[in-house]
Subunit: 334 residues, 2 copies
């Protein structure tokens, strides 16, 4: 009888306690894991601790919602970037589609390499070559026309290695970070070296980030009337390069406020992380370190794409969060 009573006592205790612990607001974070595809450990905890420290009103590090600005690099941080930037593949596809209309391209060695699928020669032209391909294929049309071309490409083009649509090669753990931050009153921004016009047509659907929260590199545009209707024409002239020192400048020009959280994966993001770390408010700086040669790619100091060298040293020296993709992420893609 005593055993039955003791058993009943435990049953009652369990059932009466559980709802209470679920109700308490302080335990709401324990209730559901906000980052389920992140393995437990110091890295995951550093993100959660930061969010809790700045969102609890009684915390000494509390940050009001209007100042909860979180910025994310795109290539290599939110989606993959190997064997070369996906926007380069888009430009290559555009060159191939447009080549029949451009006999004059026969003299152009870079474009001939593109048409011959000689990607090593294409890459040997470096950043300048990439810019030339972007100018050639992104300019000379209206912004609406370009946007439609991107929309058509993003729902059909597939990655040569994984066979996935490029838009499926977004990192599931990072989608969780975006959701988690927004659920806690953060405004999430993309700050990409890639082209803003290449990103905006799909970032809302894929990342939940609307067009007006995307900062990127851009070419100039001009307003003109065509058949009595106003259009914006994309010009073959650089407007802004949103990389390295350009990232804090872009953040300043577009957001007008210093972020409190920044996520990147390469030396091109270092200045953005430094700028964020200099905030007088508590800040979180995170580097995604590509360490998983099986599920993704492993690269850092020697890579031509997404080189992470100085940034890694500074992250270690400053105690920033460095995500080890291989050990910290349960899975890469959805």
């Amino acid at each position: 009888m005593m055993k039955i009573l003791t058993f009943l006592f435990f049953v009652i205790a369990i059932f009466s306690c559980k709802p209470q612990s679920e109700k308490g607001s302080s335990s709401s974070v324990e209730k559901t894991d906000p980052l389920p595809t992140w393995n437990e450990g110091q890295v995951k905890q550093s993100i959660i601790s930061f969010v809790e420290a700045v969102t609890v009103e009684t915390s000494p590090d509390f940050i009001k919602s209007a100042d909860r600005i979180a910025v994310f690099d795109n290539d290599g941080t939110l989606w993959a970037e190997q064997p070369y930037y996906f926007q380069l593949q888009f430009a290559i596809d555009r060159v191939k589609a447009l080549a029949p209309e451009h006999p004059e391209w026969k003299e152009n060695k870079l474009i001939q390499a593109v048409l011959a699928d000689d990607i090593n020669t294409v890459l040997s032209f470096g950043e300048k070559g990439l810019m030339e391909l972007i100018m050639t294929t992104h300019a000379g049309m209206t912004t609406d026309e370009f946007s439609q071309i991107v929309k058509d490409w993003i729902i059909t083009a597939k990655h040569p290695k994984t066979g996935k649509l490029y838009k499926e090669m977004v990192y599931q753990p990072m989608l969780e970070v975006l959701d988690y931050l927004r659920a806690n009153g953060f405004k999430t921004w993309i700050v990409s070296g890639g082209g803003v016009d290449f990103l905006r047509p799909w970032t809302e659907e894929v990342y939940g980030i609307p067009a007006d929260q995307v900062i990127g590199s851009s070419i100039k545009a001009a307003y003109e009337m065509r058949d009595g209707k106003p259009v914006l024409i994309k010009l073959p002239e650089i407007n802004f390069i949103d990389d390295k020192e350009g990232k804090p400048v872009g953040i300043y020009q577009y957001i007008g406020k210093k972020p409190v959280a920044a996520f990147g994966n390469s030396d091109g993001d270092l200045q953005m992380l430094q700028y964020t770390a200099s905030n007088h408010l508590k800040s979180l700086c995170v580097y995604i370190h590509h360490t998983d040669s099986v599920r993704e790619w492993a690269y850092d100091r020697e890579s031509h794409i997404g080189k992470l060298d100085k940034g890694l040293d500074e992250a270690i020296a400053k105690g920033w969060t460095v995500v080890d993709m291989k050990t910290d992420w349960k899975k890469i893609y959805f």
Copy 2:
């Protein structure tokens, strides 16, 4: 007895009906006037009719909230701009504050005119002179330092004619439009020919428009380390002129979407209104016509500041809404 019953019937009818008519969602607009300082008439009705047409889900003109983008010029549309742009007064005040440190300015005729309070000579230098004063006084310091100078100025500087703080010379009827649109799911943006860095420090408090929803003219900035801390230095080099054809370009570069509502007051806003009117969604284009020489200023086709000539013709031809400040607004300032 019959009379008492009839009376009671009416009392019951009144008391039972009133709460019902207040509950009905269709009558919620009648209940409180969203634009109380606007006189009744065609102009006020055009704004209300537009908002109702695009926000009622069953309406053929319904626009989803993400596409409810409303853009506002600032000078002459949200606040006054006479006898000259308030930012010019700010630049003049800066020249006077900085002159003792700059003996080399003695050779500069424009600056000497500023120091002699010879405003006609200052204005005779035109747009180019205004830009020169802005470069001279807005560059060469960190963005944080500049922001603090603007914050100090905006809470102290007073208009020579009205004696009001400049930030009190915002149009009460337009503040109501901003609130009304936001209450109906619109995102409100400033698209100003004025300097974005001059606007951002105070637009949130004065207009309820946060820094990242302000588009304006800008000078370039550079990222550098000072004493181990990252700063952005304002450079004496134009980055972007957000006027005339520049306004649709700025909207495209920052928002990435075409607006459905645009408010302006000068020919400098015409392209922004044309661009908005070309939206395939229902749109609202509004010109504020300065017609009140007693309570404000009366000017249009011949004015050097806020010239409204081609824009007025096009507004009439296209049937856009033209606000007659004298007859449409019950009051100008709060």
